[in-house]
Symmetry: C2
Subunit: 370 residues, 2 copies
């Protein structure tokens, strides 16, 4: 075991980044309110004071930012063990894997559209549990993310705040006494903080009340997004609810709003909807859950989105006690493993779309059969 | 055991007509070409000379026709054992049961729309295997039907012809030397003969070539109907192909046309389509078949039509060798047992629509699980 704060051995990018579900914090299924909340996430956007924002920086400047950040991360000691990845040097398959694990964003995966060749950018992630990650040269110079299984925005916030302080002692953040932290996009100026919870809301989807939740969230300036963030559909009935406002509210206010008021309320709505389905439409619920399970254990070809939808209903079956022989952790793990990059890493080779559909069906049958 | 040709004991309508699948000739799954042909059917329309057609006869006249027919049937000795049912005295549940077994038509079940109360009408059916039946006071005074498992229009025709001769020796048929047998509807005048085969054509449905078959059949003045005759949808991919022309063609010509030329051709088309699916779309076929089986063994609520559609695909799986642990006879039997009247008789009580969907799903799970 390397000592605390040590860096990975050379070469910096090991050939295989972890690709099973074991190290994924948001799949651990532990903590509070895990019947509805998969995970809590805190993200801080920060920029270095003496460079242009990442999007307007030259490749040379981005390389400098990358070097400074890497050194700051080492000094800050964000976790006992970390893995540093230069995204511009990783394979497309590895990048896709990191996106599916929610370690990097699609934007970091893609890089700058206008750039010829690959632009310096990277990520540092804690191991063996991927709880902390820092993206460098995404929209902002630094994007610190802390994830916790279950509802634990407070803990995630405390850890992020601590790491942020440690980083700040190693680099100069761009900061305005009047505006707060300066960010590439105005929507992040101020605290640079985004807090979100990933919620599984299948019952609200079935009853149709999800639309009311979305509307209410919009009225409160919250964003409701899908499983893979901005613009993504809510596949598998997974919704990320997050604050939109970063200016004019303290971190404590944002935390209190989401952690103590809004998320608990959505959890209650979902639980009420589940209870209603269980008492008033028990057989129909039973039917939907078991049809989904039957389909997942029978299909020979299945697309990721269809698999996600049925896994969602099976998870609902587990949480409502209708399905007893499976764990919601197994099902959540499959929600990751059915994604294209993970699927290919699991079977150990590249597959075209048809072959993926076949391999996905095989994997699901194997893992879900008693 | 009653002696040959004897009548059922008093009361004439036993409380429970057979309601399992064992006596149903068209579900036996024996004979020729049973991978595609469920059954062959020959029907003769006949009328008595000294009465108005059934639709214009008074209730008293219909009673007389019923009595004469019953006596003629007894004299003719159509089978070793027969059951006579006065349809106007049977319960709605029993009538529905007989329709589902293809022993009586919906028209005989319904009776004359204009009539207040129940109009005398009946059916005689051979037991224990329901191979021969004679409806009295349907559209025509007598409708003789002989059914055979598999492709056996020739055998069915020989038996029907023999019974027809025996009946003719007991009653006076309405017959014109110029037109042939006179019937209530002009489309049956002449031979009064309709021959049909019930075909299972799931592969032609999947490939879409079923439309070509329908068009070709239309061009040859053949009718293509669904599982429950005129106007019924082809649920479960079951199609009845029959001659439309009764005038100007001898019985031998109609038989040769259907039995030796047209039906064998459709069988070949279906087999070719199955082979194509098996070789060129093997995995997709496998997927469809096993999804259907998974659904049938998982659902907790299912409508008859949906069940039929999945049973059809499972039958295709059995015929193509993809499903080995089930017999096509089991599946064909379920195609009958999932129908509302049979379902209720099987569980032993009346059920509303929701309860039927539940009972149907339970029955399917029980019968299809290994």
């Amino acid at each position: 075991m390397p000592p605390p704060g040590s860096q990975p051995s050379t070469p910096p990018n090991p050939p295989h980044h972890p690709h099973d579900e074991s190290g994924v914090e948001w799949l651990r299924g532990e903590g509070a309110e895990t019947d509805v909340v998969l995970s809590s996430r805190v993200r801080l956007a920060r920029n270095l004071t003496s460079f242009p924002f990442a999007n307007r920086a030259s490749s040379e400047q981005r390389q400098e930012i990358l070097d400074i950040s890497r050194s700051a991360v080492r000094v800050a000691g964000i976790a006992d063990r970390t893995l540093w990845l230069n995204i511009h040097e990783t394979s497309p398959a590895d990048r896709a894997l990191l996106v599916e694990r929610h370690i990097i964003s699609k934007q970091l995966q893609r890089g700058r559209a206008a750039t010829v060749g690959e632009d310096p950018r990277g990520v540092c992630v804690s191991l063996p549990v991927e709880r902390v990650s820092i993206m460098v040269n995404e929209e902002d110079h630094l994007r610190l993310q802390v994830v916790r299984s279950g509802l634990a925005l407070d803990e995630a916030w405390r850890q992020a705040d601590g790491i942020d302080d440690a980083l700040e002692s190693a680099v100069d953040y761009a900061y305005s006494p009047r505006l707060g932290y300066l960010t590439a996009c105005a929507t992040n100026v101020g605290t640079g903080l985004r807090m979100s919870a990933m919620l599984h809301l299948p019952a609200l989807k079935i009853t149709g009340d999800i639309e009311k939740v979305k509307k209410a969230a919009g009225d409160m300036c919250l964003a409701v997004r899908g499983f893979y963030g901005e613009g993504s559909e809510a596949v598998g009935d997974l919704y990320q609810i997050s604050n939109q406002t970063t200016l004019g509210k303290t971190e404590a206010m944002i935390l209190a709003d989401l952690h103590e008021r809004i998320i608990p309320q959505v959890i209650e709505y979902e639980r009420l909807a589940r209870k209603t389905l269980l008492t008033k439409r028990s057989l129909a619920l039973h039917d939907q859950v078991y049809r989904s399970l039957g389909l997942l254990t029978s299909a020979r070809l299945i697309a990721a989105e269809e698999a996600m939808q049925h896994l969602s209903l099976v998870r609902l079956g587990i949480c409502t006690g209708l399905v007893k022989h499976l764990s919601s952790k197994t099902v959540a793990g499959l929600m990751l493993l059915v994604q294209p990059a993970h699927l290919q890493r699991t079977v150990g080779r590249e597959l075209d779309q048809d072959a993926r559909r076949e391999a996905r069906a095989t994997l699901l049958r194997e893992r879900l059969s008693r």
